[in-house]
């Protein structure tokens, strides 16, 4: 069987993180979710441990990324992930409040796999996350090992 996918959630707003997690769980996705509230922590985890042959080797990662982080922009993280030899195959889902067309275009250009705008309307929000959960349950993610 394939390696279980670990979800890396980079989201500074703990409320959002909680809502996202809840809705993912409601969609029946039981994968491990690792939350990070700052870009720095996430980058440290992703690159230092991964590149240093840490515990992430051989793990399949899926990254849920918010663009508005207090210490750096999600775009920078996206750029680094997609430039990294090991991580570039990991799917990145940008989940953010920004619905600016330029921003969306830029994210796709940088290699983001899915871009979702967080709607204020909770029905839509929950729906989007649940569908994302369905997506998670069927997606095939290669392990980070090269």
């Amino acid at each position: 069987m394939s390696v279980p996918v670990k979800i890396i959630m980079i989201e500074d707003d703990e409320g959002h993180a909680r809502l996202i997690e809840r809705n993912i769980r409601r969609a029946g996705v039981n994968n491990e979710i690792m939350p990070f509230t700052t870009g720095t922590d996430a980058v440290k985890f992703l690159f230092e441990k991964a590149n240093g042959g840490g515990s992430q080797d051989g793990e399949a990662l899926l990254i849920l990324l918010d663009l508005n982080l207090p210490d750096m922009t999600g775009i920078d993280i996206l750029k680094r992930v997609k430039q990294d030899a090991k991580l570039k195959c990991a799917p990145v889902v940008v989940l953010t409040t920004t619905d600016d067309a330029q921003e969306i275009k830029r994210c796709y250009e940088l290699g983001c796999n899915v871009y979702i705008t967080k709607p204020v309307n909770y029905e839509s929000f929950a729906n989007a996350i649940r569908q994302l959960g369905l997506f998670f349950s069927v997606i095939q993610v290669p392990p980070t090992q090269s």
Partner: protein
């Protein structure tokens, strides 16, 4: 300012110099002409004097010739001497007459010439008598006659008179010569002095011209500097404004954006609360049911619990509170969305292109045909001018105005919306006239403010449309005005430049 004053002063002083120069030149010319005539006169008079002197000499010479011929005839009577005498004596009187004529201008000389003539006539009669005696062979008498003449009073008189006349003419000659000299000297002095004055004036004028030139150069340099300064200042201010504008745009964008984030949470957890409420009241309901029935009633999970009394009231209050929270959040979300749209619109670059307004507005009108039919309204378009402007902005301006016209019609009265326009001094004036409910004059300013509305609040809206329209019209260098009375319809007048170019607005856009 100083330069202009100097230039004006220069102009007037230059006029004075020029007039002075002209006056001096005229004076010199007049004096020259005067002196030329005067010296010609003087010369004439000198010539005249010389002529008179000549004539006197001629007269005397002819007398001498007659005398010598008479004497020669006396010594050796020969016909050739006689004829010579006759020739000479014939010439004497005409010469005397000529002399008299020449001296006719001078009373003194006239007197003299009369005396001279008398003396000469007397002498000539002596000659004639001598010749006569000789013809009669009376040589002795003849010699007497002639000898007497030698020392006689007639000869003396002739000599004396001719000397007086000569002296007079000499005096006149000297006088006239001096006068001619003086005239020439004066002419020379006047010409020299005049030329000197003219040259001095020209020099002064040149100096003034140079001074004025340098003043003008200074003024020009100052003007250039001022212009450069002004341009720099304008550029700086424009840059400042642009920066401030960008700052506001960024600020509005970030603020509205960041406001959204907590709103997601509020909405999310409110919805979660709603779920919880369902769970809680279902549990209460089932507990009440158990208490009353004594057996466990299994409620279907997603059904509204059946509540009574206090419980029902609590549940309703809970629902009401949640409802207010959610509707407020929805409203806030729409407002934030509107601000985001406005800032996005503010950052969009406008591109001028040619628009056939008739066709363009027809397009907008047909897109709201359904809405118009529902509102029982007709929209008429009269001839409109073509303009060059930003297509999307124009579309938003007129969509909003037409939309408003259809939205705020008077109940029970068929709507009539008229769009008409005309060109005026490079501007296109387009009016959107409706017969709707109208706007109270005290609200005319307010309706253009963001998030503000007027009149009965019976239509959905955020109070953004007109604020947006006004912002767009301003960006297109136009104006937007309203004339309206309550219950009497409204007229929105959009004035836009017919030929809008992005440059007019400058880099500030």
């Amino acid at each position: 300012m100083v330069g202009a004053l100097a230039l004006r002063r220069f102009g007037s002083s230059q006029m004075v110099i020029l007039s002075l120069g002209l006056a001096v030149l005229i004076a010199i010319s007049a004096a020259s002409i005067f002196f030329v005539y005067k010296s010609r006169d003087d010369a004439d008079w000198i010539v005249h004097t010389v002529e008179v002197q000549n004539q006197i000499a001629t007269v005397l010479l002819e007398i001498r010739r007659a005398e010598s011929a008479t004497r020669a005839y006396l010594l050796s009577p020969g016909p050739q001497f006689l004829s010579e005498y006759e020739t000479a004596s014939a010439l004497i009187l005409p010469a005397v007459d000529k002399l008299a004529e020449l001296t006719s201008d001078n009373p003194f000389q006239v007197q003299n010439s009369i005396k001279l003539r008398q003396a000469i006539e007397k002498r000539m009669s002596e000659f004639a008598r001598g010749i006569d005696r000789l013809k009669n062979n009376d040589v002795a008498t003849s010699i007497d006659v002639l000898r007497g003449g030698d020392t006689g009073e007639s000869v003396q008189a002739i000599v004396a008179i001719s000397r007086t006349m000569r002296a007079e003419e000499d005096r006149l000659f000297a006088l006239r010569n001096t006068s001619a000299d003086r005239s020439q000297q004066l002419a020379a002095i006047v010409t020299t002095a005049g030329s000197g004055i003219v040259i001095a004036l020209a020099g002064f004028s040149l100096m003034q011209v140079r001074r004025a030139f340098s003043a003008r150069d200074n003024a020009e340099r100052q003007l250039r500097e001022n212009n450069a300064n002004l341009e720099t200042t304008v550029d700086e201010r424009t840059a400042d404004l642009r920066e401030a504008n960008d700052e506001i745009q960024r600020f509005a964008y970030i603020v509205s954006h960041d406001l959204r984030s907590p709103l997601v949470n509020i909405m999310g957890f409110t919805s979660e609360l709603e779920e919880l409420r369902g769970d809680i009241f279902r549990r209460i309901a089932s507990k009440t049911a158990i208490a009353s029935d004594g057996e466990r009633a299994i409620e279907p999970v997603n059904e509204e619990p059946v509540l009574e009394g206090e419980d029902k009231k609590l549940s309703d209050e809970f629902t009401e509170a949640l409802g207010f929270i959610k509707s407020s959040i929805g409203r806030m979300d729409r407002l934030i969305g509107a601000i985001l749209n406005l800032t996005r619109e503010g950052r969009r670059e406008f591109r001028p292109e040619h628009i056939d307004l008739n066709e363009f507005l027809q397009g907008i009108v047909s897109s709201v045909a359904h809405q118009a039919a529902e509102a029982d309204a007709t929209i008429r378009i009269e001839a409109l001018p073509d303009i060059t402007s930003d297509r999307l902005a124009i579309e938003q301006i007129f969509s909003n105005l037409i939309d408003n016209a259809l939205k705020y019609l008077k109940a029970g009265k068929p709507g009539d919306v008229l769009i008409r326009g005309r060109g005026k001094l490079g501007f296109a004036v387009v009016e959107v006239i409706d017969n709707g409910r109208g706007i109270d004059p005290k609200d005319h300013q307010r309706i253009f403010d963001l998030f503000r509305r007027a009149g009965a609040q019976d239509r959905p809206g955020q109070g953004i449309g007109l604020a947006h329209v006004r912002a767009l019209v301003r960006r297109l260098n136009g104006t937007l005005n309203v004339t309206s009375e309550l219950d009497n319809g409204s007229t929105f007048t959009v004035t836009l430049p017919i030929n809008w170019t992005a440059e007019k607005r400058g880099k500030a856009a």
